[in-house]
């Protein structure tokens, strides 16, 4: 049934500009009934924006959308649903305390007002059987697995008459059997003539389920083909699409002793997050291990596990030869660990406190900042002035609250504080997120300087350019595992892209290339 002649949906020349960044720079997309179109791309490639435009959550600056022969213009999510478009968000819009039937009635809006629970539950059961969703209409949503909740969202969309379903990263929170189940549901939907847009960065799944594949990069379509004609290597390099180049001057690494060692570390997945399975690596003094990966593949969990915010259930973590697996955060800090989390406002800074106070926060209990339990305000000021000039923090005085600073200056405070402690091991996550190029460069330079002074650094980022610029060795995380670690000399974007897409481990990449 794939590839009907009259398309169900035609998007033409979709443009959406956010400030100076073109999230969508003239995208065309065609979807036929009874087919699955894969939308592939890295974080920030424009796929989410495109789908938000289609679903009426965001208005395009220009371009046209024709669905079932009628133009969609100025529409809202409600109009999109009315027209027959259903979107399954990554974060479900379900009321956990209610049953599946109640959630469906709720989703039907005013139309559901006249329906009786018994009728709706019968329809839910029928729909569920028809598409193999395996749902009990009377089950309470809060007790269901994530895979089942996703299928509740699918039932909701189908019962509202959806003919086109948008699945946004549908497999990112699912276990492998649940993924298989979802793929078989998608096949049933396709066989019943529904059209599906499958958004993903996982190459394997996309190749398995999609009839056509559209690859987006930097807001443009960079590849569009029948999935039979695609190769994994081709898709990976299209998706990543960069050449490795030296971003700035850097000295070569001179690694010394192993400062951080992880042996077979595993952490169970928290609800809605990734777990870690069997992570083993080590980082030496004077070396940066940069870890790439699409967001949500366990990077955050890895950082938090090393930092001591999450207990490692299995395996051991050693810091400078000391086993820190079961020690608390304070002990790890004392042993010489520093952590720069991704979420600087939530985790590292107290926004309402002053710059000076934030800068001494980690060491406020020690001399020179406090003596016999009393804070020493002149030490606080000296420290703050020093950091402000050394890091070029743009602030009129150390006594203003950090929430009044820009994101870049806030990040400089976090970095200044952590680097001032001369850590043996530094874990940094997306340390340059949201910063302008100047501030980014500055922070990367500081990290390199710390490494030259003999620290071991784990730098985690979903920005591939940054990973390539900074890493002496480059690791890739996928699905809670280290998909591979390669030296800087061996790094190759296609290979990294394939690992990010979960296709191959290191060895099988070699086989394909051979």
């Amino acid at each position: 049934m794939a590839g009907d002649s009259i398309p169900l949906l035609e998007m033409r020349g979709i443009v959406k500009q956010y400030g100076s960044v073109a999230a969508n720079a003239g995208i065309d997309l065609t979807v036929s009934a009874g087919s699955v179109v894969g939308l592939l791309g890295e974080n920030g490639s424009g796929k989410s924006t495109l789908m938000k435009i289609l679903f009426g959550m965001v208005r395009a600056d220009s371009g046209t959308m024709i669905f079932k022969g009628r133009e969609l213009s100025g529409h809202s999510p409600r109009a999109a649903i009315g027209a027959g478009i259903g979107m399954i968000h990554q974060h479900f819009m379900l009321v956990e305390a209610m049953t599946i039937t109640e959630n469906v009635i709720l989703s039907l809006g005013p139309a559901g007002r006249r329906l009786r629970k018994r009728e709706v539950s019968r329809l839910v059961r029928e729909t569920s059987e028809r598409y193999g969703l395996d749902l009990d209409p009377f089950a309470v949503v809060g007790n269901l697995s994530l895979g089942r909740r996703q299928r509740v969202e699918i039932v909701k969309a189908l019962m509202r008459g959806a003919e086109l379903l948008i699945l946004d990263e549908p497999t990112s929170n699912l276990s492998p059997p649940e993924v298989d189940r979802l793929l078989s549901v998608i096949r049933r939907l396709r066989a019943e003539g529904k059209a599906i847009i499958f958004i993903s960065h996982k190459l394997g799944e996309v190749l398995e389920i999609c009839d056509q594949i559209v690859v987006l990069r930097d807001g443009s379509v960079v590849g569009h083909s029948e999935s039979d004609a695609c190769t994994r290597v081709g898709l990976a390099s299209l998706m990543v699409g960069r050449e490795l180049d030296e971003v700035f001057e850097r000295s070569t690494a001179s690694p010394g002793l192993k400062l951080l060692e992880l042996h077979n570390v595993s952490v169970p997945a928290a609800p809605g997050g990734s777990g870690l399975s069997d992570i083993t690596f080590s980082v030496r003094s004077g070396e940066i291990l940069a870890i790439a990966g699409i967001d949500g593949n366990g990077q955050l969990e890895l950082a938090e596990t090393i930092a001591g915010l999450r207990p490692a259930k299995v395996g051991t973590i050693e810091l400078a030869g000391t086993d820190i697996t079961n020690t608390g955060v304070a002990d790890r800090i004392a042993t010489g660990l520093s952590y720069i989390p991704a979420d600087r406002i939530g985790t590292s800074l107290v926004p309402s406190m002053t710059i000076g106070e934030n800068l001494m926060l980690r060491d406020s209990h020690r001399a020179p900042f406090s003596v016999h339990g009393w804070l020493n305000s002149s030490a606080l000021d000296d420290n703050a002035h020093g950091a402000i000039s050394a890091f070029g923090i743009r602030a009129p005085s150390p006594n203003i609250s950090t929430k009044r600073l820009s994101g870049g200056n806030q990040q400089k405070i976090v970095v200044a504080r952590e680097l001032a402690r001369a850590p043996k091991v530094l874990i940094a996550v997306q340390a340059t997120w949201g910063l302008d190029p100047g501030a980014t460069q500055f922070i990367l330079d500081r990290l390199l300087r710390l490494r030259n002074d003999g620290a071991a650094i784990v730098y985690i980022s979903s920005e591939l350019e940054e990973v390539l610029a900074l890493g002496d060795r480059i690791g890739v995380m996928f699905d809670g595992r280290i998909a591979g670690i390669m030296s800087r000399a061996d790094a190759d974007v296609t290979r990294i892209g394939m690992m990010m897409g979960g296709l191959e481990t290191q060895s099988s990449v070699e086989e394909i290339r051979a």
């Binding site: 999510p77 409600r78 819009m93 379900l94 009321v95 956990e96 305390a97 209610m98 109640e102 009635i105 709720l106 989703s107 039907l108 809006g109 005013p110 559901g112 007002r113 629970k117 309470v140 809060g142």
Partner: protein, 310 residues
């Protein structure tokens, strides 16, 4: 049956009745996602409304209507501040309680007493014996010779349960309290639902105040609710936000308080203060045991604004 036991059971029902109405009002508000911390004030306003309305017009019917209106007014205030302007619900409720305590004392003296503390007496509502049933020995006198608001308090659980569980409006109300964003995404207006629920709940809670005045005490005095609003709040928690469970909790709390009369009669060596603590201890135990589980409305206390407006 022993007359002491009968007295104990009668006291249990009597004490539970105002709690019941306040708790039913509180369930409506909390199910929609607005903490019912203001129950105490709503109840006190209702008591004042009942006393003033009856005293000034001589009609208990107007007194009852007035208690509903006064409760609803407090509900409107809470809704405007906590829902429309998204202030902290806990603080808003406590402020409403303090406001009503002051305002009723002032109005009592300023409007009714012309500057002095008036002594007002209102007629008590007569029992309405249920024909036939009231003749049943023991149970008849206990259950079917009650004044009208008592019947209302206990039978209201059935339509309230039906409304919450089986009606579309009830579904939307619960959605507003569980996941307002989901309710909004299907075209409902959670802020409006919460406003209406808070006011409706407050009106019913006001009736609980009327019970105190028109069925039990026959007058209004400063702060006469004496923490019953908070007791009702505890009953909602123990009853897991469902009408029948909450009714059971109100009866248990009523029994605990009736017990302290009994303890005195029998001369047991237990401090009545200890006995009066029991309902709150029970509420704390329930909270500690279940925690913030699925049963508690998930979005309770979480301000929600119309995304189009903010």
């Amino acid at each position: 049956m022993d007359s002491a036991v009968l007295d104990f059971l009668a006291a249990t029902i009597r004490i539970a009745t105002p709690l019941m109405l306040a708790a039913m009002g509180g369930i409506i508000s909390e199910r929609a996602g607005v903490f019912a911390v203001g129950l105490e004030g709503m109840m006190l306003a209702g008591a004042f409304g009942a006393a003033a309305g009856t005293f000034l017009t001589g009609s208990t019917a107007i007194g009852i209507a007035s208690s509903i209106g006064c409760g609803a007014l407090v509900g409107l205030t809470v809704a405007v501040v906590a829902v429309r302007f998204r202030a902290d619900q806990m603080v808003t409720g406590l402020a409403a309680n303090a406001l009503v305590a002051g305002l009723t004392s002032f109005l009592l003296r300023g409007v009714i007493g012309h500057g002095r503390t008036p002594v007002i007496h209102t007629a008590l509502l007569d029992p309405w014996p249920v024909p036939g049933l009231s003749a049943i020995p023991v149970i008849g006198s206990l259950l079917f010779q009650q004044p009208p608001l008592t019947y209302l308090a206990f039978t209201a659980t059935v339509p309230l349960y039906w409304f919450l569980v089986n009606s579309h409006a009830g579904l939307l109300l619960r959605a507003a309290g569980e996941n307002p964003a989901a309710a909004y995404s299907v075209g409902a207006n959670p802020a409006k639902i919460r406003t209406v629920a808070t006011i409706a709940g407050a009106a019913i809670t006001g009736l609980g105040g009327a019970v105190l005045v028109l069925q039990q005490v026959g007058t209004f005095s400063d702060g006469m609710t004496g923490g019953r609003g908070f007791l009702a709040l505890a009953a909602i928690i123990v009853g897991r936000w469902m009408p029948f469970g909450t009714m059971a909790a109100c009866l248990v709390f009523g029994a605990a308080e009736a017990m302290h009369l009994w303890v005195q009669v029998l001369g047991l060596p237990v401090s009545s203060y200890i006995v009066q603590m029991l309902p709150y201890l029970l509420a704390l135990a329930v909270l500690a045991a279940w925690g913030r589980s699925v049963v508690m409305p998930a979005a309770i206390g979480v301000a929600y604004g119309d995304p189009d407006r903010s």
